[in-house]
């Protein structure tokens, strides 16, 4: 029974929304809009569970004195402080708290985010160095086209030969786009098949059942 109820819900709603896609009438559109609102409500509940998990995870780390447990204290303090500042900062008379919230966001969280993003430049260099090897003919071809594209975006490319930026553009526009579209065909069919398998109850891994 525990297995059947979710399967029935998925089958019914799956078929309903499949049909809904083809029915433009008012009632069908209204039902669709309402379910979109439901998902928002469900997400709100999920956030409560997620925060519960976060707190629990770090409390356990602190309790068991796991390696680097003090980082968990920082996480929990940050969670509480930002939440309180965010909530009370909007209250009349407590505007300085809101200002502090904005400052923490702009001068702490935002730079940390940007720093993490900037690491990408370093990793790109090390990954390209390690992986871009002419191991086979195909890899050599990839290497050459990669070089042309890289040269095409910097002034040295045009200095070497004025046509390099145009060749780089052609590589991006034609072979690159064609390969992308080829992958997309497979992805589209894969998505449709996965949805179909779940709706029809063929795929049950999400129930922990592994298709049995």
């Amino acid at each position: 029974m525990k297995r059947q109820i979710p399967l029935i819900i998925v089958l019914t709603l799956g078929i309903f929304f499949f049909i809904q896609f083809f029915v433009p009438s008012q009632i069908s559109t209204n039902i669709y809009q309402t379910t979109l609102q439901w998902t928002l409500v469900i997400s709100a509940f999920a956030i409560v569970l997620a925060i519960g998990s976060l707190v629990n995870h770090h409390m356990l780390k602190i309790k068991r004195r796991k390696p680097h447990w003090w980082n968990s204290i920082v996480t929990l303090v940050a969670l509480v402080v930002m939440a309180l500042l965010g909530i009370f900062g909007r209250v009349k008379g407590l505007e300085p708290l809101g200002e502090l919230y904005r400052k923490l966001f702009h001068y702490v969280q935002s730079p940390m985010d940007q720093a993490m993003f900037a690491i990408l430049a370093f990793y790109m260099a090390s990954a390209a160095y390690r992986a871009f090897r002419a191991r086979s003919q195909e890899a050599a071809l990839l290497l050459i086209s990669g070089f042309i594209v890289m040269l095409g975006v910097i002034p040295f490319g045009s200095m070497i030969w004025s046509k390099i930026p145009d060749i780089a553009e052609w590589i991006m526009m034609v072979p690159n786009m064609a390969a992308k579209r080829g992958i997309l065909f497979g992805v589209g069919l894969g998505m449709t098949a996965t949805s179909l398998k779940i709706i029809l109850g063929i795929e049950r891994s999400w129930l922990g059942g592994g298709g049995k």
């Binding site: 499949f18 896609f21 083809f22 029915v23 433009p24 009438s25 008012q26 069908s28 559109t29 469900i42 997400s43 999920a46 956030i47 569970l49 997620a50 925060i51 998990s53 976060l54 629990n56 995870h57 390696p67 969280q109 940390m112 985010d113 940007q114 993490m116 993003f117 690491i119 990408l120 990793y123 790109m124 090390s126 990954a127 390209a128 390690r130 992986a131 871009f132 992958i183 997309l184 065909f185 497979g186 992805v187 069919l189 894969g190 998505m191 449709t192 098949a193 996965t194 179909l196 398998k197 779940i198 063929i202 795929e203 891994s205 999400w206 129930l207 922990g208 059942g209 592994g210 298709g211």
Partner: protein
């Protein structure tokens, strides 16, 4: 396509109306101010097709002065009675000869339209249109092609599922990344280190996330079998709750509910880079023997994969985010490219019904390739055919 079908419908409705000799009010064109420009003519109003009602499509013949660049645009006016007061329903610039009035107050009630040509210095009002009623439709005819392809695809898949059920063996090519799953779990067990599983950073609405969660079920069964610790950090709250349930069920299925650790699936943060740094921290501290990055990834893909490569873990990645594939391919041991991610669950479970759907997918792809070749050949022979094919493929 939409315009053309609307145009066709308009013509059809106009012809029907003409045959039924419906009284088209033929008020004489009236000049509002200095009559230097001619008004648009032949105003027709019909119910907008394939919608939820409350919409009427108005079309007209452009003012002959448009060619002299005297017209800037057209104001569309609506009224409940043909000789009543007309209110403005919308405006379109020159070059357009139709307008969808989306704010029709009531369905099933007659409305009349007039179109005013607006020039720099003068305006000219057209005659009154035929009456039209807005109504809702129960089938979107512009999506008939999508319906047919869905039905066709389902039939093909069903045929192969039936074949698989009858015991016919189906050949599936070896997918290295998936063949390595067993080995990867075994390696972690031998080394006494955990397995890290990241089900992407997107929401549950992404099919890639669902595919990743399906694979998580399979991987969790293996970790339950070998009693290997599993770490599943999450970025989306809904995905987190589903992942937790899947892992729990997998442990139950194997008969090891005691081995399930409630804290193994946990929520990190909703911030993209915050999540990346959190997972990087886990990899640096816990040194997982195997990392799975399956699902939807964005700019953080390389940050995760490079850190994982540095810790010496075996890495299996899979995504349909085409821009991120190169990063995974360079930094991971195995990468599932696009559709392989969706094939993973069938491949790992070897369940005949799931394998049947894979075969169905392959045949559908063959049909698409065939259509592409036919389309290409046809449009090379006659460019007009390309337009027809494109119209057939467009979903409204």
């Amino acid at each position: 396509m939409r315009l053309k079908i609307t145009g066709l419908l308009l013509m059809l409705c106009w012809a029907t109306a003409a045959m039924a000799a419906s009284p088209v009010t033929a008020a004489p064109p009236e000049a509002v101010s200095v009559a230097v420009i001619a008004p648009p003519s032949d105003i027709k109003a019909v119910d907008t097709p394939n919608d939820a009602g409350h919409a009427i499509t108005v079309s007209w013949q452009a003012s002959p002065d448009e060619a002299q660049k005297l017209i800037e645009g057209y104001e569309v006016l609506r009224s409940e009675i043909s000789d009543g007061e007309f209110v403005k329903a919308g405006y379109v610039p020159y070059g357009f000869t139709s307008f969808d009035d989306q704010d029709v107050p009531a369905n099933g009630k007659d409305y009349f339209y007039r179109v005013r040509a607006v020039g720099r210095e003068s305006q000219a009002l057209s005659a009154v249109s035929n009456p039209a009623r807005a109504s809702e439709q129960w089938f979107n005819t512009l999506r008939i092609n999508a319906l047919i392809s869905c039905i066709l695809f389902t039939i093909i898949v069903m045929i192969f599922i039936a074949r698989a059920r009858s015991g016919q063996s189906l050949f599936i090519r070896r997918i290295a990344g998936l063949a390595a799953v067993e080995e990867a779990v075994g390696r972690a067990t031998e080394m006494g280190r955990p397995i890290l599983y990241v089900p992407g950073i997107s929401t549950i609405a992404d099919v890639a996330t669902i595919a990743a969660l399906n694979i998580l079920g399979q991987v969790a069964k293996k970790t339950a079998e070998y009693d290997t610790p599993l770490l599943v950090p999450n970025k989306d709250p809904v995905v987190f709750t589903v992942a937790q349930e899947i892992v729990k069920e997998a442990y139950n299925e194997i008969g090891r509910p005691d081995a399930y650790n409630h804290d193994s699936v946990f929520y990190l943060t909703d911030s993209q880079m915050g999540f990346a740094s959190g997972v990087d921290g886990i990899m640096a501290r816990e040194k997982p023997a195997t990392n799975f990055f399956l699902g939807m990834f964005y700019a953080e893909s390389l940050i995760l994969a490079e850190t994982g490569a540095e810790t010496g873990a075996i890495q299996i990645a899979g995504t349909d985010a085409i821009h991120q594939l190169p990063f995974f391919i360079t930094a991971c041991d195995y990468t599932l490219i696009g559709e392989e991610l969706y094939a993973a669950s069938a491949y790992l479970s070897r369940e005949p019904m799931l394998l049947g759907t894979l075969k169905g997918q392959d045949w559908s792809k063959a049909i698409i390739v065939l259509l592409l070749i036919i389309g290409l050949a046809a449009s090379l022979i006659n460019p007009g055919i390309r337009v027809i094919i494109l119209q057939m493929l467009r979903v409204g």
